[in-house]
Symmetry: C2
Subunit: 417 residues, 2 copies
């Protein structure tokens, strides 16, 4: 039997590989490739010794539930710790409004399944996070991008997009946003716009799905905690579903993230999760809980901010020195990413094979656009490589851009003949 | 805002709580309740010290990838270990046919999403595993039950069910089966029937989804490894998707299970998993891998067989002594469950509150039926409680059945007047 197509669902037929994960595969197969592709946190920043100590205590066997099935909502003490952590973010919540998810990717998938029917519309930033795009597409949603400028999503474009969908008789279920150090652009949504987005959502009766994995990772030289105030902090209306994660601040291997939502929706996310994986990892949740309880997470944050700020510096310095004013990027004020625009007529999908040949990879811009745009852009992730490797990677990238520019010039010259 | 119904997808609107998970909640809230409800493995059988030792080594920090994001398919050495483990089950596979899933529940959900459109038909045993029922229902599939006898699914009933669906113009995508120590009946599908099911599936061009978490847990006094030969072992045609798990043999808290499928389908499961949670837990997968590599899993199995066989003995002895011939059950030859049928006119949903009042819980039979039947049955799980607690629980259950019989007799007497 070779023809399995006929057994596939419509979703199964249309599933496509994420460009980011594909780059992960390239990386796994190649030697001496410097990867600016996946948004991996720096492994040498993980508090290994503390994790080891915590795991030893948890695996003593005195509490059998550590390795047992657990509640679908998540380990209750962890949810209580998240309530406290959310309070520091000025978000009022309770254990009944929280669901622990197997990474924020699961949170996005649960949002998709609980809220979206085929044909329902999601509005999102242009560009936006590929993992969200994939989760929403897998349930047949229609994705409509909204332009951003350097202060984030454009409110007038948002209203126009909504109006166009509305007048075409389509149902806009929610607006998906990454307000803090957006993936892929690294942009920070202005505080006034956050307020305006919330008011707009109430006016148009649309939910907001606020995805906030990078909040704690602002760069102190150009941003402060005040700049990262979540939209959910001002939500008096129960209109915001808020997602955040321990993947970028503790470690992604634990697959522990959380969702905050109005109780009625949290209950539905719990049911959807029940059918997806019953519960998240028991040991993982307890390690993360202990990291919260013992102050390990709080102690990590200033270190991580300095760590990633420094790597941003190294990348930005390298780009300025090697590529001068032939490329443009908005300076990242936090997070893991730098969003590079190539000079005309260069295209990032044409650059990628040349960059691979030079030993450096990234994610092409088009992966983040729902409308086919983005070929002029690429996402560079400075979080994982060491400063030395970032410098070397930028040199390789500059050489590859030189290769592409030469090739373009030759084509131009031939065409001119 | 209080009305969230209008934001829900059709799936979101129809999601219902699993009866098994609900009992888990009851348990968490109650004191001194003996639970025969969830199919939890015995925590005191977990190899705590070995796990602790493995975790200590893994968390030394020498391999940063332990806590990093990993490949969606799963940690490659673990997949290689699973290839070897599958060979012992006489199933030929390769790393490209395997996907590590976040528990078998995720495997079931991936199967649902990749294979089923709303209205597609799944044939399954009557009764069947609730977690599968929920996953298939969440994508809008139509579930059609097939009668079993003491040797498992009835082939004639299977053909009749298929023919009825086929002639009504509906598409039967697959047959879902738990051939070894089925959840909830504990039944073992006869070897001749396994062969017949495979031939039938080829004839009718239907896939088989074989869910096999209990294979290794046969009871040596009444069964042998030969009795548990998977259907997938004789699949020359690429017609079987096979799911199994480390949850019952190592520990469920790791959330590590696997799927074996033809390469074309495995690739689709990988894509679906990418959008569901990116990857399973990194530390968890490595602990499980080390448990395979170091022979820990292999050493566990005889111990576990003896452990659960003994608990089965204790439960069966108690039921015989306390309930004599007023109840019926097929003797479990492996696994975690005993499927009890009450004498007429007793009903398990009426028994449950009386049992709770006596301090014992179970799952009512109707949770496992897709057609509203099963009120005469209950599932008793003997895996988690200690032998003493099993004895005491059976006494409480017998008392509750006495309460119900008295109440029924009174009603009968009143009605006779």
């Amino acid at each position: 039997m070779t023809d399995y197509e006929k057994f596939l669902s419509r979703a199964g037929q249309s599933m496509r590989e994420s460009a980011i994960r594909k780059m992960g595969t390239v990386l796994a197969q190649a030697r001496d490739v410097i990867s600016f592709a996946p948004g991996y946190p720096a492994e040498d920043s993980f508090p290994w010794q503390a994790f080891s100590e915590i795991a030893r205590e948890l695996l003593s066997g005195t509490d059998g539930s550590v390795l047992q099935y657990g509640p679908t909502r998540g380990f209750r003490p962890l949810r209580e710790a998240i309530v406290a952590l959310m309070k520091e973010r000025d978000i009022q919540t309770s254990v009944d409004q929280l669901v622990v998810s197997t990474g924020s990717q699961q949170g996005l998938d649960l949002v998709a399944r609980v809220l979206l029917d085929p044909g329902d519309v999601v509005l999102l930033e242009l560009p936006s996070y590929t993992g969200a795009i994939t989760a929403f597409r897998n349930v047949g949603a229609s994705l409509v991008g909204v332009q951003q400028d350097d202060a984030g999503i454009d409110l007038e474009a948002l209203e126009r997009a909504w109006a166009a969908e509305h007048s075409a008789g389509r149902r806009v279920k929610f607006l998906y946003l990454v307000p803090n150090f957006q993936n892929p652009t690294g942009l920070l949504l202005g505080l006034d716009r956050r307020q305006a987005v919330l008011e707009w959502a109430a006016r148009r009766d649309v939910l907001i799905v606020e995805d906030d994995p990078y909040k704690d990772l602002f760069f102190p030289d150009v941003a402060s905690v005040a700049d990262t105030r979540p939209i959910a902090a001002d939500d008096r209306d129960g209109r915001v579903v808020y997602l955040s994660s321990f993947s970028k601040t503790l470690a992604p291997g634990f697959r522990v993230a959380w969702m905050h939502a109005p109780e009625a929706l949290a209950a539905k996310f719990e049911l959807a999760k029940q059918a997806e994986d019953l519960c998240s990892g028991g040991l993982d949740q307890r390690v993360v809980y202990e990291a919260c309880r013992r102050g390990l997470l709080a102690r990590q944050l200033p270190t991580l901010r300095a760590h990633y700020q420094h790597k941003r510096d190294v990348m930005v310095r390298g780009l300025r020195a090697k590529l001068g004013n032939t490329v443009y990027w908005p300076d990242p004020r936090g997070g893991f990413f730098l969003w590079l625009r190539l000079a005309e007529p260069l295209r990032s999908d044409e650059l990628l094979p040349l960059a691979q040949a030079r030993g450096v990879i990234f994610v092409t811009g088009s992966a983040f656009f729902v409308d086919g745009w983005g070929r002029q852009h690429l996402r560079l992730s400075f979080s994982a490589p060491s400063p030395d490797r970032i410098e070397e990677g930028v040199s390789r990238l500059a050489a590859a851009i030189g290769d592409l520019a030469d090739a373009s010039a030759n084509v131009g010259a031939r065409e001119a003949r």
